[in-house]
Symmetry: D2
Subunit: 332 residues, 4 copies
């Protein structure tokens, strides 16, 4: 069994708009900060109809995109970290407004680095946690810092993957919540995209947590407010594309090409007349069953993961340890 | 502040016997299996007097020693794994007799790999867990194996160190216990010895768990039956010696040398006449305060840790997955 | 630009035989040892016509295959190591017969672990070298071992990848040859296959060295007897499939399916009537240019690479350090 | 056999000055940049008498020291990188004046990351190389950059350690020189200091290359202009102290303490009257022979090595890729 899926809400939305269809229950907004190369897109799924159409739960999905994210430019990555921090703060503000978080500092945050540290494209979460500066242990020993209160109590865990631990991630994280009682989880994970152009060039930030079946290698993570009882902000970067998605896209392109050819038009008509789910079924039968487990990734993925691990950990540091200078207002 | 300490009960016992003293509340037994180069030593601390004298809690401390453990000899390491498995089974039998464990299989075991995977001599626990074959996840999906019941349900975790997680190891492990309810913990840790001859050549197996302040780098682990509510078997290998221990030993040797010299006998007398705690105090004042944090380790520690990670994980596999062929009776 | 390629000669041969064609200049032989699950296939390319048809240089390509190689079965991996050792010895014997190697022991061998240790499916070569027991340094200090001559002087290098070193692998290895003058190179590399069923289940051993453009990530390695002046035995395991290969195969299957359908037969005829290179051209136009750089790999590739790194290093140890008990005669 | 040694010329010099002695053939200069917390010390050994006294070859040894180097302060590390770049440029200028380097750009530089990546305190060199941006490969493909000439052609190698490769580092590097003909080597290595206060807080930059027996674990590296035929700049950070050094220092302190005590003065006199080499001999006899191989290191050495790997790689980038803005004149 395989699944052609994307962990990016923005790609799910595009796949509908390609057909020129509006989706009820889903809004989309795009903007760009002045003098910035980062494009921001916010998809909000606000009711059950939208959730069904998108195959994703209600909530806000913010995407930050820039081609240059793939390059080794320290100043540029600093800009991305700053924007991530601003958007994290904006989401926190929203959660506080909805009374999902306490309004008084310090906020107690548990960062969770999902994925397998031994498999390069899955190692983003462990990489971010390796760069993260926690302080919960220092406070336990020294009390609050003498030079004014820090606004966060931060701890972090790399739970590992089920093949190594024999446990569901939600069991491990749920147990730690039980013992340490944080207010909020920040989960970092490598994602699967539909388009190879997204690999390493997009960051998705969402307040819906991690859904079962998402992430690289289908680890069946599930870290959601419903399951855990506290809000879960998820930060993800696509590092793989499912092998099935690539095959599907190429075959779709071939059908289009054949349809415009006189010789093969009749075949094109035939395939065109199939319903999308029949087309999907046809292709599915052709794909080998092993494909569901396979993923596509570029050979320089180690550099991408190393770089973005740094960019994201810096964004978290700026969001939680520094004084806010940017409201991250969302480009009104 | 520093501390001259050893995590090995056998070394603690030796330090008393060097002075020819018997310790009440502590028994010692040594043996060697026929045709084996492995020397076994069992120290049992059976009352509070013994515990006070030894600075370690009541329980059984079994040591397996062999010079060849430091070498790259696959057959030899197989023998060590086999002996470790036999002794693990013997301890399990003891726990079952005392009704500390359920008698019916399968036994649900959580393995915990303590230490910092990024610091070579502290990476034994994570190394063993990296080689461990867990099965709890498979049983959750497939049910019990069709070809007869496996005697264990095994899961495992590498909790990381407090400087990286901001949490005490006992908080993380305690939380996981709360969620997954195992019967037994097997904790694996790198240890600090007094003698450099022990580095990589000794395995200690104990039913007392992990005490606060033990291990490399003083991670303040504490994983005990009292704290966690289930038995904790601990497997450890010394990979470091505290810097203070080495200085102390050398100075002691120097005092001995000076005492036997006519010129310096008077000084020797003086130092000799100091009580042991005064001697300790003198040396302590000379030692720089940073010493408490420093450890001594050999440059080929990476090979030692890699090799013993394999030997110990194989021992655990043999103890729990295979049919017992050796009662590990303890050489009666 | 992309390339649909396989590093396995046995797959290249199969793609011809699928069309029922014999290739001049190429022989194929298959066998299985009694009571063994390992299937051996030997492709010999013995002239220029064969080399052109196969797109690979003249020489012997031996493949060892077994589904169980993917599993965690220590005894089985020992059997594979033994067979690899036997076949390595057979190739050495052949090279000595052809006077490409000195006949007197000790043989001076340089092992080269190709690939990027930071990218999991490309880390096979560095993994094997990490397990390898070299002895050249000991001989330099101690002279030949006192208990009889060892038949090999072994050294090893992990040259890294060009993106990290800025140098061609052949420059690094060529320089080391210049200084240390070994008789033979054993190069270990991760390979690209056509079929996902080969991933982690096949070992290829060849006396033709490493060709430019082979390996994962197209590192443009080239380590050949022509380039280096000494024989190069190459050991490889497929860990990836090119993304383009998977798309190509699926589309080929679709064309077959359409051709057998009345509605779409005409289209099938059209595509069928295209020459293979025209078909290839059609598909190539549909594929996105980025595909050439992408590869497909399974999510548990870390376990596969770890296991096979051990199996292959043991095979090399058995071939060179142990007394031959198996002539590896090739099942005549 | 052991050796009480330091790889830092500044410590060697201090050990003489402790005795109030001037050394002929050696000059020392200390300064601090305005508004900087970095203390610079330059030891120049300018003749054979100085070299004999210091146990180090003629040349310039520059030390940059600051307690804050041990902390996680990004701005501070940027300052250190900048100062390292300025001093690297100053050494290059000196080499060009002496016609040891070509005066026209681009300069062809080979960076060498010495040490064992698997042993944390020895992993500085491999860590720096992992962060280094080489460009020699890009120039080979694209030619010189279109937007003006870059002043450097940079390549890099991590040769590994003899226990893993079976080869001397100088053999590997010498071979690569033979093939790629760089103008200059930059070697990066972890060092052994005498004082634990130096660990992770000092960078030494020297134009004398790497001497046999220096570095962590006594790898018998030797990379010098005499041996290799081109200049070798070496960058090192102390990450260990030899166990013997710590014992020696403590015993020296004890002798001092005893000497000032009436009871023990006679013994103090006796030891005081021993010549330094007799003292050294006495202590040496007390130390166990295994000590020569042991080193002392702090438990958070992983963070130190990670941080300084970044600081040094950035310093190399600034020195070679950026336009000089700071002459690094040495604070006259």
């Amino acid at each position: 069994m395989f699944e052609i899926r994307t962990d990016l809400a923005v790609e799910e939305k595009e796949s509908f708009q390609g057909g020129g269809k509006e989706i009820t229950g889903v809004s989309l907004r795009e903007w760009r900060k002045a003098s910035s190369s980062i494009k921001l897109t916010e998809v909000v799924i606000f009711d059950e109809a939208g959730a069904r159409a998108m195959g994703k739960p209600c909530g806000t999905y913010l995407t930050m995109e820039a081609r240059q994210m793939g390059r080794e430019d320290e100043d540029y990555h600093r800009e991305v970290s700053g924007e991530l921090a601003a958007q994290l703060r904006r989401m926190l503000k929203g959660l506080r407004k909805r009374r999902a978080l306490p309004t008084a500092d310090p906020l107690h945050v548990l960062a969770v680095g999902l994925g397998n540290p031994s498999v390069t494209p899955d190692a983003l979460g462990p990489g971010v946690l390796g760069n993260l500066r926690v302080n919960r242990n220092l406070r336990a020993v020294n009390g609050p810092p003498s030079d004014g209160e820090e606004p966060v109590i931060l701890s972090g865990i790399v739970p590992g993957v089920m093949a190594q631990t024999g446990m569901e991630t939600a069991e491990i994280v749920g147990g730690i919540l039980h013992e340490t009682k944080p207010d909020l989880i920040i989960a970092v994970d490598a994602l699967a995209a539909r388009s190879i152009r997204r690999l390493g060039t997009t960051i998705q930030l969402t307040d819906t947590g991690i859904q079962p079946g998402s992430g690289v290698g289908n680890h069946r993570h599930s870290l959601t407010a419903e399951g855990l009882g506290i809000p879960v902000l998820a930060i993800g970067v696509p590092t793989v594309v499912g092998a099935a998605a690539i095959v599907y896209d190429t075959i779709s392109a071939m059908i289009g090409a054949l349809w415009s050819n006189v010789e093969t038009k009749r075949m094109g008509d035939y395939v065109e007349n199939l319903q999308p789910d029949e087309q999907y079924q046809l292709i599915r039968e052709l794909l080998e069953p092993e494909f569901g487990q396979l993923y596509v990734t570029p050979p320089d993925i180690d550099q991408t993961v190393k770089r973005l691990s740094f960019t994201i950990s810096e964004g978290i540091h700026m969001a939680f340890y520094e004084n806010p200078q940017d409201g991250g207002e969302g480009g009104i």
